[in-house]
């Protein structure tokens, strides 16, 4: 019973919650918050239970567990197939954690026009979409969840966002939609390409390992799927929707966008693109790697030009996801491990960054660096300290999580998969490693500059007089879990590497060695 129901309940509980919130009468708007809190809390607790029983249960901490495989649309062989394994687990838990904290944060502040009912309803809807994406084992189901995410985020940005919100929202929606539609075509091609006409990811992976797909076919379909995923990641040069979306989005919107939604793209590479199109993956690996490194350097350089905190962090995401993609492009267990670790790290740290910047914006009514004018460490010492910590964490200071993701990705790129070496591309990858390492330097550069201009120095008079309030208890409540998790995961990387490694190596060995 637990085995079969747990995942579905956890995924759809927020949906139910959203419905419940929608039914709250307009007069009792406020009571939406506690409801949402209760729902997300329950969801998070459930996901922790799942995590626990994944280890203590028969799965013993590897392989797929909580498998549900029900016929859904027999005509096109799509089923309601959900399960969870070592690759999904960290992201799944992270999703529920971040959403919970976002809801907590909403007690502190919701951007105008307020309307907590609608806001929280959308957040919960979003949660279902994100969590579902990570546990779906059927391409159509995956796609449904994947797209389900767009709509609430569109409204979050469009209604609660900044001055250019509508432009940003539409751009976000259209850009991503375009990619995913192409991806859908790719999925359907996979369906007809395999002998067994099914959308089950597991069977398709097996089919691929069995050499069902011709190389030309693989290359075509990989391109289609790549487009969808790359736009979501976003990989250079498909990233232009991201800065606008992040800058305009309300705080928790940015948090979820950066914290979870970007991971959906990279997760797609690990779960779909590589296992189902292995040979094409090998062929395209160098291009992925090059794009990734371009993203690293490019993101860092663009950050140096930013005058707006949120936009700066947005571009920093481009760079960080570059490291993730570099790891994936290496096509080795270490690389994919590093990628997943990098996703978790980026989720925790960048999520936290957006929280802090959001709070700054809430206090200063601007996120422009020049207007804040430095001295945050004096006006609001705690926030300043937290910002410093998170920024340093984000520039990949060991032993905080960012470091493990980056350095292991570099290691993996230095020793890419056999197939790549056989293709005589070892040299290319090793050169890329050097450039990637230079990227870390640039990252440190702009983050420190940012710190210097924001936290250090003496604050302008007006802010001193404004008597800004330091961290509020609610904010602290929303942030402490993140900060603690960041430190713990950094000190004990086993927490993530341990979970992911067995399944990653299983997937890669089946995919690459047949």
């Amino acid at each position: 019973m637990w085995e079969s129901a747990a995942l579905s309940v956890t995924v759809f509980l927020p949906l139910v919650g959203a419905a419940a919130i929608a039914l709250i009468p307009h007069a009792k708007e406020r009571s939406a918050k506690p409801v949402a809190l209760a729902v997300t809390l329950a969801t998070f607790a459930l996901s922790l239970l799942i995590l626990a029983s994944y280890y203590l249960g028969p799965a013993g901490g590897q392989g797929r567990a909580f498998i549900v495989d029900v016929e859904w649309i027999p005509v096109i062989g799509a089923g309601y197939r959900v399960a969870i394994d070592g690759i999904s687990m960290p992201l799944f838990v992270l999703t529920n954690l971040l959403t919970l904290l976002c809801v907590v944060y909403c007690f502190h502040h919701i951007e105008p026009p307020g309307r907590p009912r609608a806001f929280l309803g959308l957040i919960l809807l979003l949660q279902t979409g994100m969590a579902g994406t990570f546990v779906a084992f059927d391409l159509i189901l995956f796609f449904v969840f994947w797209e389900l995410v767009l709509v609430p985020m569109y409204f979050l940005i469009g209604i609660w966002g900044g001055p250019h919100r509508e432009y940003a929202a539409v751009k976000f929606f259209l850009y991503t939609m375009f990619g995913s539609m192409i991806m859908l075509v790719g999925f359907i091609a996979l369906y007809f390409g395999a002998g067994a006409e099914t959308f089950s990811m597991v069977e398709l992976s097996q089919a691929a390992a069995g050499g069902e797909y011709g190389i030309v076919f693989q290359r075509l379909v990989f391109l289609a799927i790549f487009l969808g995923l790359a736009i979501k990641v976003p990989m250079w040069p498909f990233h232009t929707w991201l800065p606008d979306a992040h800058t305009e989005a309300p705080t928790v919107g940015s948090v979820l966008l950066a914290g979870i939604m970007l991971k959906m793209g990279t997760y797609g590479f690990v779960r779909i693109a590589v296992p189902m199109l292995p040979e094409a993956a090998v062929d395209y690996a160098p291009f992925l790697a090059v794009l990734a490194v371009i993203a690293i350097l490019y993101g860092a350089l663009c950050c140096m030009a930013q005058t707006d905190l949120k936009r700066l962090i947005a571009f920093s995401s481009v760079g960080h996801m570059g490291f993730v993609m570099l790891g994936i492009a290496a096509l080795t267990t270490a690389g994919v491990n590093a990628a997943i670790f990098g996703m978790v790290a980026h989720g925790l740290i960048t999520g936290m960054l957006f929280f802090v910047v959001g709070s700054l914006k809430h206090r200063y009514h601007t996120s422009t660096i020049a207007d804040i004018g430095g001295g945050v460490l004096q006006t609001t010492p705690r926030i300043g300290a937290i910002l410093t910590f998170v920024a340093i964490a984000s520039l990949g200071l060991p032993p905080l999580p960012g470091f493990w993701g980056e350095v292991v990705a570099l290691y993996a790129a230095f020793n890419p998969a056999e197939a790549i070496v056989d293709a005589g591309l070892l040299g290319l990858f090793r050169v890329l490693v050097v450039f990637g390492a230079i990227g870390t330097l640039l990252t440190a550069g702009y983050f420190l500059t940012m710190l210097q201009r924001v936290t250090m120095g003496t604050p302008p008079r007006r802010w001193v007089d404004a008597g800004l309030q330091d961290v509020s208890p609610i904010e602290l409540g929303a942030w402490t879990p993140l900060l603690v998790t960041t430190v713990v995961v950094g000190l004990v990387p086993l927490l993530v590497f341990g979970i992911t490694r067995p399944d990653v190596s299983r997937i890669l060995t089946t995919a690459l060695t047949g």
Partner: protein
């Protein structure tokens, strides 16, 4: 066949049509004896009649056996029943939308309901017709009431104008169709679809014959408003009463597709390799032109009109994939069209329903009338958002699975090495994105800008029920997609005599 069997009639097979016919006459009669406010009670009457017919259709479906009448000119098979079910449900919702609208105009209610019911009789005949004569009769039975209904707002020059354009283009295409038929008849010597198919399998393809078939297709192209036969649609929709616009954009279009299906999948199937490419071009043109033009629209009804043109384009894609003798491919193409029609009916009527409701306060139907609707009446705005997103093909709404069906058909064809399949799929993708951009503009207007007036929209019970029900269907049929796909998959054309 000889005259004897030609005159056998299976009344049970005809029962739904007869029920609607009876209702139509009854409505016309009863309305004479009702005065003032009471006239509006003809609407419930019509509803009851439609429900009865629907029950009969279900009964036929349960009975399951393929029935025929008039020497198999008329066949009630699973395909026909599926369509009849669709048409009657559409009729139900159109009636619900019409109730308040016409009760408030207070003119020609009897005539209106009579006309619309007779139009639906025509539609119900359409999928059952297995003979060009019957097909033509059904087609005209749909069109002629349409002409009148479009002009029903006699006092409104726009309405007249719309009706006139509709009429002229309509008659032109009808006569084109007939001319084509007469030519085809010259080559086949029969008017039955199956007979035509048989005759065409091994015929020398003279240009004249091909032109004839093309003329026939053109006749239906007008009905489904495919480019370049679509010009009437926006103007007519704008002029017509909104419920009629809904009727035209969904019901009569669906009827057109039903006819087109029989013609192209049965009668002209042997020549498909000749005309399919042409249809492909038409399909791409239609969806692109519809979407691109819709981008520039400020009048919501016109916007929906162009969007419905675009959707016709999507629905034409499977026709472009038909190949002679490839049963598997063709059947999946067929069911793709069916799925899309079901989905399209649900979401488009929904959209028009909301527009009707809003138009009560803002007859201008301008985009700005929708500003801040989300705060004025969240229910309406929410439903309209659902319908628009569904039209844009967002999962898990029903429109998404319709798109999937189209993609599937296209890609399957692509797999069966017609590269054209992939091209069409990509064309659909690009167009979907374009379309989403203007759907989102409406949605954004509703939620993201401040309301110009604060009074909520009062749809009234019938309309409210219609909107709610359709919203539920949009989500429900999305999540329970099998319901639709299964029906579509079961529906196979039993080629009559």
């Amino acid at each position: 066949m000889d005259a004897a069997e030609a005159t056998q009639i299976d009344w049970f097979a005809l029962a739904p049509e007869l029920a609607v016919l009876a209702t139509a006459l009854l409505v016309l009669l009863v309305e004479l004896f009702l005065y003032g406010q009471r006239k509006r009670f003809v609407n419930p009457l019509a509803v009851v009649g439609v429900l009865v017919a629907l029950g009969l259709v279900v009964a036929l479906a349960v009975d399951g056996s393929d029935r025929a009448a008039f020497g198999e000119m008329f066949v009630a098979d699973s395909y026909a029943l599926a369509f009849k079910g669709l048409f009657l449900s559409v009729a139900l919702f159109v009636l619900l939308i019409s109730y308040r609208y016409f009760a408030e105009i207070r003119t020609f209610q009897g005539e209106y309901y009579f006309l619309i019911l007779s139009a639906f009789i025509g539609m119900m005949l359409m999928p059952s017709a297995r003979d060009f004569v019957m097909l033509f009769v059904a087609l005209e039975l749909v069109s002629i009431p349409g002409f009148i209904m479009a002009g029903l707002r006699k006092f409104d020059p726009r309405s007249n104008e719309g009706a006139m354009k509709f009429l002229i283009i309509g008659i032109l295409s009808a006569s084109t169709l007939l001319f084509g038929l007469s030519i085809v008849y010259a080559f086949t010597g029969t008017t039955s679809l199956a007979g035509t198919a048989a005759a065409l399998t091994d015929v020398t393809r003279e240009p004249l014959l091909l032109v004839g078939t093309l003329f026939v297709l053109v006749g239906f192209g007008f009905k489904v408003s495919a480019v370049p036969f679509h010009f009437w649609a926006p103007d007519t929709y704008e002029g017509a009463p909104i419920p009629v616009a809904a009727f035209l954009s969904v019901a009569s279009k669906a009827a057109g597709f039903a006819g087109l299906l029989q013609v192209s999948f049965v009668a002209f199937e042997p020549l498909s390799d000749a005309w399919a490419p042409v249809v492909a071009v038409i399909a791409v043109l239609t969806m692109t032109l519809g979407n691109v033009t819709a981008l520039a629209q400020r009048n919501v009804v016109r916007l929906l009109a162009y969007s419905s043109v675009a959707h016709a384009g999507y629905m034409l894609v499977p026709f472009a994939l038909v190949r002679p003798g490839e049963a598997a491919l063709n059947s999946s193409a067929l069911s793709a069209v069916l799925v899309y029609l079901f989905a399209y009916a649900v979401m488009n009527i929904g959209a028009f329903a909301v527009v009707t409701a809003v138009a009560r306060r803002h007859p201008g139907r301008h985009l700005d009338d929708y500003a801040g609707l989300g705060q004025r009446s969240p229910g309406m705005a929410g439903s309209l958002t659902l319908f628009l997103l569904s039209l844009g093909g967002t999962p898990p709404l029903v429109g998404f699975f319709a798109k999937v069906a189209i993609f599937a058909a296209a890609v399957e064809a692509g797999q069966a090495d017609q590269a054209g399949g992939y091209v069409l799929a990509v064309a659909v993708v690009v167009n979907t994105v374009i379309s989403v951009s203007y759907y989102l503009r409406v949605a954004g207007r509703m939620w993201m800008s401040e309301p110009t007036d604060t009074a909520p929209v009062q749809p009234g019970y019938a309309l409210g029920f219609a909107v709610g029900g359709l919203a539920v269907l949009t989500v429900g049929l999305g999540v329970l997609a099998p319901l639709v796909t299964h029906v579509a998959d079961q529906a196979v054309i039993a080629a009559g005599g």
